[in-house]
Symmetry: C2
Subunit: 339 residues, 2 copies
């Protein structure tokens, strides 16, 4: 019979996770005390600021266990945190993982979850240095805190966009939203859903490598990731900067896969692109004269970076349609509490 | 009608919490970016190691909402994290708070929760620099990450205890366990439960001030807090150090309140003292010649520090009873998953 968390208990699970991390995880010479004490301890590097972020994923709210298996859940949860550090221009260093688990959770699933975390952390030689296990009511929650570093004074905020700045976006926003709809459609039809867009939903890519390189140029005036969807996070950036934005709809990158999926689902592709989507792309603003420099830096990271509009002094966001009409763009970012 | 989280939405709640923190919280000149960006940013102080810990509280598991109101819940959750930093000899600096909330949570309660966090952080001039809000399934979870600092090389681990070392403990372990039983008894009898031991359960005190002072002496060979109960955490310390311990039962401080509560409840006071109890006292080991020095340092922090036994080369824990018999002491620390 498959082993459950209740069979091995909290200490048993801690030991199991500890050996997995020792075997498959990275170690940092800066960490003097890791898992297994009251707190972890590390020596910060001189000349660096530290970045710290946390993000939770709750079962049935941020992931549907029937659709996303444990390894992918782990990748996805860690990716959202790496994306936050990368969106400041920072490099991930140390993670702490707090899990709320039902007592009947399978030990194998928890181990797969940690392998998912490491899959995303190892390329940065980042490590898991602590955490907490507790029993949850119904369903699992995963809360990750991630520490990163950035050269002193080089962190890029949301609040630096200025009127006249160009607005750029990496990759193809909306892929995850289209993938989720394909997944739900396939489930309704009783089919399995192997599709690049479905993968974009299950295991989205962060753009931290590009974020680090773009921040290092010193040309980005503001940067944020699109974890609340392109318009939601553009809205946060505009609000923090006290500006507005005008986006030219036809300039927003719309890849063939999104067009094909939209056609198959009978939807407008811009419902995905300009809606809520768990993509973890980056929105960047800069002086228009710096656009080409930033594009070549991003291109060196194999990440497309497209100019899609400009920052306006007038607050509020607008989209310019192909016929020249200018329509308001709602910052309809995802709200966890509104009905 | 009392405002609910669903009435003001996620962004509304973030703004509400933001103004509360601005009004009632501390600000650090080391923090360059706080709440409202992808990540917070701070400059570490030269010559210091950073400590980081996280701890969760789950409704109906770690607190019964009928018994512990929001302000006290906030104090309690933050205290457990401050205790972890203090048990390494560190000073709390920055907190991140991740909340899982049902949509019908009252805004007033969330604000009270944050006032509870600040009540514990403000004495250290520590601040909340980030966090996350999400909707939870049933009931609330509170997950706090706390960053602290300690002079380089001065962090006290669990793993340094040596055979022959004295074992010391602060305060009066077991008070919280006795308080919880009084609270449950009063609830069964339909009475309200105002009692110092009930307060010890609802809003336990951490010993971080004493922990910082004791670590600074350099005399403590190992230190940990008693969040899993005295025998549970003594067990963790012994395991990490590869040693055992012999505790003299009559030396363990047992205050009059615990004796009186035990008599009223028809229980053995040592069931509280040597059982699971959410007290956040400190267990410290040191060379027997350093006991008096540590006691005067602790006394200067107004914290009693009592020598209760010694570390043994032979593994396993034992209690010496008044009649001279030596009985095994189970490390029956709290296990979240065992039935």
């Amino acid at each position: 019979m498959a082993e459950r968390v209740s069979d091995i208990g909290e200490l048993g699970l801690i030991h199991r996770i500890g050996s997995l991390l020792e075997r498959d995880g990275c170690r940092s010479p800066q960490v003097s005390i890791g898992i297994g004490d009251d707190a972890a301890s590390f020596l910060p590097r001189a000349g660096c600021e530290l970045l710290i972020t946390c993000d939770s994923m709750v079962e049935n709210r941020h992931f549907l266990p029937a659709f996303i298996e444990s390894f992918d859940r782990g990748r996805r949860a860690m990716t959202s945190n790496i994306s936050d550090i990368g969106a400041m221009g920072g490099t991930p260093l140390y993670g702490l993982v707090s899990l709320g688990l039902p007592a009947d959770a399978l030990v194998l699933d928890i181990e797969a979850l940690y392998r998912g975390f490491l899959h995303e952390l190892n390329p940065f030689h980042a490590s898991i240095v602590g955490g907490n296990l507790t029993r949850s009511g119904d369903g699992m929650f995963i809360d990750i805190t991630l520490v990163g570093e950035v050269a002193q004074g080089k962190a890029v905020r949301r609040s630096g966009a200025r009127p006249g700045d160009a607005v750029l976006v990496t990759g193809f926003p909306g892929r995850a939203a289209a993938g989720l709809q394909l997944l739900l459609q396939a489930a309704r039809d009783g089919r399995s859903a192997g599709h690049p867009l479905v993968d974009a939903y299950k295991t989205p890519s962060h753009r931290a490598r590009a974020g680090i390189a773009l921040a290092a140029t010193g040309y980005a005036t503001a940067m944020t990731d699109t974890s609340d969807g392109f318009p939601g996070d553009l809205g946060h950036l505009c609000e923090a900067s006290g500006v507005g934005a005008e986006i030219v709809r036809e300039r927003i990158p719309c890849d063939g896969a999104i067009r094909a999926a939209a056609a198959a689902l009978g939807r407008d592709p811009y419902a995905f692109i300009l809606g809520e989507s768990d993509d973890y792309e980056l929105i960047i603003t800069c002086d228009p004269r710096r656009v080409q420099s930033l594009q070549s830096v991003s291109s060196a990271c194999a990440v497309p970076l497209t100019e899609v509009g400009k920052i306006t002094a007038e607050q509020g966001m607008h989209v310019v349609l192909p016929d020249g009409r200018k329509v308001p763009l709602g910052a309809a970012g995802f709200d966890h509490f509104r009905p």
